[in-house]
Symmetry: C2
Subunit: 371 residues, 2 copies
C-alpha cells in the first residue's frame, strides 16, 4: 500500500520551512510530471495543489478516473476552470482561502510566457518558479526509492528477466526474426504478466539500423538479429515504475564488431565496480569516457540515469560538468555504455541497478548475446 | 519531395520582417517540437538554428542520424556543446558571427528558469521568448498543409481505412477479443504497410473501462468488444504525419447506451455540417456543447484538434473563450465528440477531415459499429 499521505506530509513540512503557501504539481500535455501520481495516485492529466495548511486539491481532466485512482482531500474537475492553468490557480486560491501576499510555487518547466500570465493574473500573490526549489526537493525525494517502490522494482525486474529469457529463446529459434516481432512480443508478454505496458517505445534495430543511438523509426518490418549487431532497448512498466534494459544480439561479428562488444562489456564492468555509496555519479561517467577515449572511441550519450515513474529521472549519471549527483542507498538507475559506428553498427548493454546498504545489486539480466 | 528550403525561406522572410537575427527550433526531451523535422527532415533530438542571413545550422544528439536525415547548411554534434542548450546557443552565435545587440528568439516552451539562464549567459544579446512571435508563425504555417503534406495524408488515411476494415472484420470474427489483441493488431498492420508506427499509444478500452476519456492503462489483457461499449482510439504515422481516429464497438446496447450513441452520432453530423471556410472553430464546438446540454450531458474534452507531425496541433477546435482559430482550406483536423458515463461506459466517434476549397472532405472511415 502506497502511503501518499506521508509523501505529502514531507512536502507540507518543506513548504512550511520555505514559506510557500501553495504548491502546484502539474501533469498535462506538454508539462508532464509523474510526481502527480507519486503524491496522489492519479495516473495523469491533472493538476495537484498542496497548501501549507495540509490540504491537497486534485484538478483532473477526467473526473471518473479521479474517483477511481485519485487520493486527495478535495477534487474539482478541470472543466470548472475552463481547462486553463491560470484560471485553475485563481479558483484554487479562492477555494482554499490562501491569503493575498502568499508565495505560490509553480513547476520549473512552466514556460516563460505562461509564467508572465500567472504573474499578470495573480497580482496579489508572489509567484515562484525555480529549478532548485520545492520541485527540486521532490526530485531528490523521488530519486531515493522507499520500501514499497523497491518491492515494486523487484517484481518489475522479475517480469523483465522472464521476458529477456523468452526473447533470447525466440531469437535463437528464429520465431523472432523481424524488429516488429521483437517489439510486439514485448508488448504482449508485458501485459499478459500484469504490466501497464512498456515504459517507453521499444527500440528494435536490426544490423542495418543499430548505428543509431535511438533508432528511427523505433521498430520496422526489417530483419532483426541477422549477421552483425542488433540492439533491443525496452522497459516494462509495472505499477507505474519502468525498467529499462538493452540487449545486443551479435551474430558472426567481424573483428571491428568484436572490438565494440569487448569495449562495451569492459565499460559496463568498470562502471558497475565504481558504484559505491558516496561516489559522485559524474566520476564513474568520466571513468568510462576515459576508457573509451584510450581506444579512440566516444560514447555519444550519458552513461546512465535514474529510473522510476519516468524512464529518465534523477540521479543523472553523466560526465557533464554540472552533474552534482552522488550515489546513495535506495537509488535505482541504469548503466548503459554503448558505441555506435555508421558502418559496423551499434552495441549497447544496459541493466537496472539498485544501490543497497550492502552495495550495488543488479536487478536485471540484460547481456550482449552471441548467437 | 519535401521542399525544406522553401519552408525555411518563409521563416527567413519573417525573421527579416521582425528583426530577429537568430531563431531556435528545439526538439529535445521535455521540449518536443516536430517543427524541427518540418524544417529540415531530421526526425528528433536536435536543435535547429536559422539565421536571418539565410543559413541553417543543425545540432543533433546523433550525428549518424543527421547525416542520413538532416537537411541543413551546417551540422555540429550536440556533444561539442556539452549537450547543453545555453552552451549551444553561445557556440552557434560565435560560429555564425551574429553581431552583439541582435535579437535571438527561443521557443515559447522554454521554461522560466532556462530563460533566465539564457539571459544571464548571453548578456550581449536580446533574448525573445513569446507565444505569438515567430513560433506562432510556424504554428500557423504548419496548420495549413501544403500539397506534399496533403498527398501524405491521403496515403495515411488510405492505410488507416484499410486497418479499420480489418479491425471490424476481426472483431466480428472473434479473432480480436482482448484489448491487447486490438492494439497489437494495429501496431503490426501499420508497420507491414510502411508506416513509421502508431502516432500515439493506442487506447483500447473494453466495456468495463470505456468510461475513461483516456483509458488507463492504455490497453490491457481485458476483454474487448463484449456486451456494452468499447472504445478504440488510434492513429497511424506515415512519413511523419499521424492520423487519429476513434471507433466505438457497441454490443447489445442498453437504452442508456443507445442514447449515448445516438447523441454522439448527432453531434458528429452537426459538427461536420458546420465546417466551412471562414467559420470560427469555437463556434462549432459551442454548437456541440449546446446540443449535449439539451440532453443534460457534458463532453469532458475538446471537440477536435488539428493533426500533422503531432497528434494534437493547430487549429484548436474547442469552446474555450481564448480559441481564435478560423477554418480555412488546407487544414487537416479531427472531430471527436464523445460522452462518458461511469456506469454505462463511453462512446466516441472520431474522424480526420481535410478542408478543401470545395468543402470538408472526410478522409477516414471510423464509425460507431454495432455488433
Amino acid at each position: 500500500m502506497i502511503d501518499y499521505l506521508s509523501r505529502r506530509q514531507k512536502m507540507y513540512d518543506a513548504m512550511a520551512r520555505e514559506g510557500i503557501a501553495l504548491l502546484l504539481i502539474e501533469d498535462t500535455e506538454g508539462r508532464r510530471d509523474p510526481a502527480l501520481r507519486w503524491f496522489c495516485g492519479h495516473p495523469q492529466d491533472a493538476l495537484l495543489y498542496l497548501s501549507v495548511d495540509k490540504r491537497s486539491l486534485l484538478v483532473p481532466w477526467d473526473i471518473n478516473m479521479a474517483l477511481l485512482y485519485g487520493n486527495a482531500d478535495i477534487t474539482v474537475p478541470y472543466r470548472e476552470f475552463e481547462r486553463q492553468p491560470v484560471s485553475a490557480a485563481k479558483g484554487v486560491l479562492e477555494k482554499l482561502r490562501i491569503p493575498p501576499g502568499s508565495k505560490i510555487e509553480i513547476p520549473p518547466v512552466t514556460s516563460y510566457p505562461l509564467f508572465l500570465d500567472y504573474v499578470g493574473a495573480l497580482t496579489d500573490y508572489d509567484i515562484i518558479c525555480r529549478n532548485t526549489g520545492l520541485h527540486g526537493e521532490i526530485e531528490k525525494l523521488r530519486a531515493v526509492k522507499d520500501e514499497e517502490e523497491i518491492r515494486i522494482y523487484r517484481k518489475a525486474a522479475e517480469i523483465t528477466n522472464d521476458v529477456i529469457t523468452l526473447l533470447e529463446k525466440n531469437v535463437r529459434s528464429g520465431r523472432i526474426h523481424t524488429e516488429v516481432d521483437a517489439a510486439l512480443f514485448i508488448e504482449s508478454a508485458s501485459r499478459k504478466r500484469g504490466c501497464e505496458g512498456t515504459g517507453f517505445t521499444t527500440l528494435a534495430a536490426g544490423p542495418e539500423r543499430s548505428f543509431g543511438i535511438h533508432a528511427f523509426p523505433p521498430y520496422t518490418a526489417a530483419p532483426f538479429a541477422g549477421k552483425g549487431l542488433s540492439i533491443l532497448d525496452f522497459g516494462l512498466k509495472y505499477a507505474g515504475y519502468t525498467t529499462d534494459v538493452t540487449l545486443t544480439f551479435a551474430r558472426d561479428p567481424t573483428p571491428a564488431q568484436e572490438k565494440l562488444i569487448t569495449l562495451t562489456e569492459k565499460a559496463y564492468k568498470l562502471a558497475l565496480g565504481l558504484v559505491v555509496d558516496g561516489t559522485g555519479t559524474r566520476d564513474i561517467a568520466l571513468a568510462v569516457d576515459y576508457l573509451f577515449s584510450k581506444s579512440r572511441k566516444t560514447m555519444p550519450h550519458a552513461l546512465g540515469h535514474g529510473i522510476g515513474l519516468e524512464e529518465h529521472e534523477s540521479p543523472a549519471i553523466r560526465s557533464r560538468a554540472d552533474n552534482p549527483w552522488v550515489f546513495c542507498p535506495g537509488m535505482v538507475f541504469t548503466l548503459e555504455p554503448g558505441l555506435y559506428d555508421p558502418i559496423h553498427g551499434g552495441c549497447r548493454l544496459e541493466n537496472d541497478i539498485l544501490l543497497t546498504d550492502s552495495g550495488a545489486e543488479v536487478l536485471t539480466n540484460a547481456a550482449i548475446i552471441r548467437l
